[in-house]
């Protein structure tokens, strides 16, 4: 138990220092009218000189004497009265000492509690800051990932739309391929006929007629023309496919956008869906430094969108494609008489991944990717649509200076 503890038992010498005893000793002696000494609880004199035969009066704070008054000459009732006065003073002093010691302990304890609470607050705030930084970093990292995937998706979507073309084109090739093969079968027969003629040359015209070689020659020429057409058609389909599969090349070519539009119209119209008419009004254009493969995809997607809009309207309609040279560039307009778009749809139309159709059922590039391609050509793309009336998509490409 240390001397600062409030709850110890006090001795007189602790409660009153020499100055205090010097202040109260004389008046007490004066009142007593006799000799007086003030002793600590072990009998040691703190003030005054006790006579050897002095009477002692205990000064009791709690249970035991905290000190004594000693006097040889004082009358006992007076000495007892002096002790009662002195004890009252001792008690008041002890009470103050306990109060102040306890105050110090209590304030120290409260301060510890406050410091603890404060350090908890700091810890909480630090924790808050750390978490907030961590989560912000996570969010930022995810945003970066999202952007990277967006970019990949943009690349992939371009290729994907070419993939969609492939199936249709493969089918388109099979038809001419079939009749060219069939025609070649006929040629085999015709060759046999001429071989037979060789053996019957002596019969002259009779053999010729008998083998019906006039028909063979005439029909052969027709078949050849058919074959040539068929092969040309295959060639065109292949050229279209190639023109659409150049999507990974940088835009270094100077191309005529009318050719791109014709490619797109060619692909979009084989076959043409029922009830849809395609009209083109292509005017002479200057060459444009561009990536024709990319623009093919854009035009094809817009034309197909238009065709789909006509089909969705449930009535016959047309998609018209118009190109025109403007003083400062090239304007292309693709207009359909289809269902049109609601304001809400128009607002979201250019959002990435926005579609009103099921995933995988798309007709090609999304409008978002289309716009990205147009923007990459420093161009602009604008939607103008009336629900129930139709949609016009306008594209503008500035001329190379």
């Amino acid at each position: 138990m240390s001397t600062s503890d409030f709850d110890r038992e006090w001795r007189l010498g602790e409660l009153f220092d020499a100055a205090m005893l010097a202040r109260i000793g004389p008046p007490l002696a004066e009142l007593l009218g006799a000799d007086l000494a003030i002793l600590d609880r072990d009998g040691r004199a703190l003030w005054g000189m006790p006579a050897p035969d002095a009477t002692r009066e205990a000064l009791i704070l709690e249970l035991e004497p905290a000190g004594f008054l000693a006097s040889a000459a004082a009358r006992p009732p007076q000495l007892r009265s002096a002790a009662r006065m002195f004890t009252a003073l001792l008690r008041a002093e002890a009470r103050y000492r306990m109060a102040s010691a306890l105050h110090l302990e209590a304030v120290t304890q409260d301060f510890e509690t406050l410091k603890l609470e404060h350090s908890r607050l700091l810890a909480s705030e630090a924790r808050y800051r750390k978490l907030s930084e961590e989560l912000e970093a996570r969010v930022a990292a995810q945003v970066a990932t999202l952007e990277a995937r967006q970019q990949m998706l943009y690349q992939a979507e371009k290729l994907a739309s070419v993939g969609q073309l492939a199936a249709g084109m493969a089918h388109e090739i099979n038809n001419p391929l079939g009749f060219v093969s069939s025609n070649l079968g006929s040629f085999k027969l015709y060759l046999d006929k001429f071989a037979a003629l060789h053996a019957r040359l002596a019969e002259g015209e009779a053999a010729w007629q008998s083998l019906d070689l006039d028909f063979v020659i005439e029909d052969g020429a027709e078949l050849l023309a058919d074959c040539a057409n068929g092969l040309a058609r295959i060639g065109r389909i292949v050229a279209d496919l190639k023109s659409f599969s150049n999507v990974d090349r940088p835009p270094t070519e100077r191309a005529n956008l009318n050719a791109c539009l014709e490619h797109a119209v060619s692909v979009a119209s084989s076959p043409l869906p029922p009830g849809v008419t395609l009209k083109t009004a292509l005017h002479p254009l200057p060459l444009l430094a561009c990536n024709p493969g990319h623009l093919n995809l854009v035009f094809l997607s817009l034309i197909k969108n238009g065709m789909q809009a006509v089909q969705d309207s449930g009535r016959p309609g047309e998609v018209s494609i118009r190109s025109e040279a403007a003083p400062d560039g090239i304007t292309i307009r693709i207009t359909d008489t289809g269902v049109g778009m609601s304001p809400a749809q128009q607002e979201r139309a250019f959002e990435p991944f926005y579609t009103t159709r099921a995933i995988g059922a798309g007709t090609g590039l999304g409008l978002s990717t289309a716009r990205n391609i147009v923007l990459a050509h420093r161009g602009r793309i604008v939607l103008d649509s009336t629900p129930g009336k139709g949609t016009t998509v306008s594209l503008f490409f500035p001329g190379t200076p």
Partner: protein, 218 residues
């Protein structure tokens, strides 16, 4: 550990509990009831409204057959929430505890919080709460809406501490509570302090000495 020198031994006992549960009243009644060899005044350090501000103190004492002076200093803590620092200071170095609960049913939350604060503060000031002698007193049994005794007994059945019922204002149960604490205190220290061996002090003699009863001849 109780304070000890060659000639005396001092136990510090603390009455803890929520505000106005009757801690000071317990001390005042003990001062009235008990008559040990030595009994001091109750030092009341109250502030306005009769609320304990620092503590109250009742000193008691008796001499063992060995001549050892055994002193007990009974303290109360201030019950109001704001005085937690003071409570911790008063609680420091305690050798035994009485928890004075208020039987009023509306005070159950206050009792619970005060009991928890007592346990927490014991740990903070380095007392071994699991082993310190402790008696729980449910005071104010005379209140019309006091929680019934059976309900309290059932609730405290599993706890290791003696439970006593009191109406301190009239003095009922005050001495019984204190006696229960004295017995727990004796058992805790009988060996460590050589109470039976060195000082020829039985448990009953210890209790009788503190309470100022005449010990029945054995």
């Amino acid at each position: 550990m109780p304070e000890q020198d060659n000639t005396s031994l001092t136990f510090k006992l603390v009455y803890y509990g929520p505000a106005q549960s009757g801690k000071t009243t317990n001390l005042l009644r003990l001062h009235d009831i008990l008559s040990p060899e030595l009994k001091g005044e109750v030092m009341i350090m109250e502030t306005k409204d009769d609320r304990t501000l620092f503590f109250d103190l009742l000193p008691l004492g008796f001499r063992a057959p060995s001549g050892l002076l055994t002193k007990l200093r009974l303290f109360t803590v201030p019950g109001q929430v704001a005085h937690d620092g003071t409570r911790k200071a008063v609680l420091s170095r305690a050798d035994g505890l009485v928890f004075v609960a208020d039987s009023d049913r509306t005070q159950e939350t206050n009792n619970g919080e005060a009991f928890q604060s007592m346990a927490d503060n014991c740990h903070r000031v380095g007392l071994d709460f699991e082993h310190i002698p402790l008696v729980v007193q449910f005071n104010k049994r005379d209140l019309p809406n006091a929680v019934p005794e059976a309900e309290i007994r059932e609730r405290w059945d599993a706890a290791p501490w003696p439970v006593r019922f009191a109406t301190a204002l009239s003095g009922n149960g005050v001495e019984a509570t204190f006696e229960a604490l004295l017995r727990a205190l004796y058992r805790r220290h009988v060996d460590g302090l050589g109470l039976a061996t060195d000082h020829r002090l039985t448990e009953d003699a210890f209790v009788a000495g503190v309470l100022g009863r005449t010990l029945e001849p054995q």
